[in-house]
């Protein structure tokens, strides 16, 4: 079970770091954690992990596949039955 903030006052670094995944997910202000007030090592770790999560936004997609990918998909779906159950990929749907 996750400990309360006051329970975490006398934690060792290993115990505190074991709790970190849940603490991050709680979206609470970790700077208020008692352990961090006295432990520079864990404070640095928390700052780094928060920074990495923040910088990850830099990696949002920027590349498109080459136009040849669609050409291959298009050629392949011509040979497939239509998802609506028709005979061919470019056939209009048959309404009954």
């Amino acid at each position: 079970m996750t400990k309360t903030r006051s329970d975490r006052t006398n934690m060792t670094c290993a115990e505190f770091q074991d709790q970190l995944p849940e603490l991050f997910e709680s979206h609470s202000d970790l700077s208020a954690e008692e352990h961090l007030k006295t432990c520079e090592n864990c404070s640095a770790l928390v700052r780094d992990l928060e920074y990495i999560a923040q910088q990850a936004k830099l990696l949002l997609p920027i590349h498109d596949p080459s136009p040849g990918v669609w050409d291959k998909i298009d050629a392949a779906i011509q040979r497939e039955p239509s998802p609506g159950g028709g005979a061919g990929g470019n056939q209009p749907p048959v309404r009954t």
Binding site: I52, A56, L59, D74, I77, Q91
Partner: protein, 210 residues
């Protein structure tokens, strides 16, 4: 103008990374009926995110393009089964993730379970950080450096990191995509960030900023 009635609230679910895309709902419906042009529209709307996921997971343009092709072919075959229970892009991403995982397993880990695919070996995992007080990352990471470090993560860590921290999926969605527990997703993410920190600090030691 106020009518005195409370207007129905728009659905907020999936809004952070899945804002409504103009024309998407119509394209889905048409593609489900076999309209190839509508399917091309869906490809145009989603190719970048699917390709980027494949590229990050494989680190190779040719393989990433092959898997993008495979993911969209699977989409074509399965689109009639999309019922709108989740956002379309989430549903498509799940499909793409499965294509990537299948490929990774075929490539290097043919007999292992998904959980094992997600859990790297001990030596690939992050170290606990007890007493290593030498280098802070803050302010030191640019896109290229981070991209390179992410490439060096074990595949399971990389996948959860990309899905959560880059793409913004929630743990319950990731757990659903990867058929693992929410706790497992949280744990993998934490280990991924710890491992990234190791990699970034090691890289920073090898290549000090000028």
């Amino acid at each position: 103008m106020s009518t005195g009635q409370t207007a129905p609230k728009p659905v907020q679910q999936h809004m952070r990374r899945n804002p409504p895309i103009a024309g998407e709902a119509e394209a889905i419906q048409a593609a489900q009926g076999g309209d190839a042009r509508a399917f091309e529209t869906l490809y145009a709307l989603h190719k970048r995110r699917v390709y980027s996921l494949c590229l990050r997971m494989l680190g190779n343009v040719a393989e990433a393009e092959d898997l993008t092709q495979e993911a969209f072919l699977q989409l074509y075959r399965k689109i009639a089964t999309f019922r709108g229970d989740s956002a379309f892009s989430t549903w498509l991403h799940r499909l793409a993730v499965n294509v990537v995982l299948m490929h990774l397993r075929k490539k290097g880990l043919p007999q292992v379970s998904l959980e094992e695919t997600l859990e790297p070996s001990q030596e690939d995992g992050p170290r606990k950080d007890i007493g290593a007080r030498d280098l802070m990352l803050s302010g030191s990471i640019d896109r290229v450096t981070l991209e390179r470090a992410v490439e060096n993560l074990p595949p399971g860590y990389r996948l959860v990191f990309v899905l959560h921290d880059v793409e913004g999926y929630e743990h319950n969605e990731i757990a659903d995509m990867l058929a693992c527990s929410i706790g497992n997703s949280k744990s993998q993410l934490h280990k991924a960030r710890m491992k990234l920190r190791d990699l970034l600090r090691t890289g920073a030691r090898k290549e000090p900023a000028v």
